[in-house]
Symmetry: C2
Subunit: 96 residues, 2 copies
């Protein structure tokens, strides 16, 4: 499902216009991103947790030229589905 | 940020009541989960893609008792942040 299909499905569910559904989705995403940028995890009920892990600055070596260089710090983002979501996905495969 | 904080931040941004913000979030999550359960990936603009990978049924062996058993099929969920999000997280660590 691409973004367009997602927004039209959401507008159908909420009884919103596509424009309002887009605004709502953008705000929700902006909320999540704002916190992730501050290095905070974001937990959404019945869904899961977006976790950011800070990878520190480190020195690495180019294997070809043997030259050393600095790798800047980085925020790694991962999503951990919670138990409810895992159960829903599990129960679904067994129905196939 | 836990779910309660997330909902109050979202209601502040949208100018909604907490109840409406909860309804909107639940609908958005339900949209995503419905498609994931059907084995379809979900892409959200400026954010990323939720991907489901089906792990087939397989036979495994208990290392202690050497007994063979059937591992049921499973849907594995992973989230791939898109480039926009990665850039936002990257640019943020360099500001620290």
């Amino acid at each position: 499902m691409n973004n367009k299909e997602f927004i039209s499905e959401l507008s159908r569910r909420l009884g919103y216009t596509v424009k309002d559904a887009t605004t709502v989705t953008d705000s929700l995403i902006a909320c999540i991103i704002q916190d992730l940028q501050e290095g905070k995890n974001v937990t959404i009920q019945n869904f899961g947790t977006f976790e950011v892990k800070k990878k520190m600055e480190r020195i690495s070596v180019n294997p070809l030229t043997k030259q050393r260089f600095l790798v800047p710090p980085k925020l790694n983002l991962c999503f951990k589905p919670n138990l409810t979501l895992k159960e829903k996905l599990k129960s679904n495969t067994s129905d196939d």
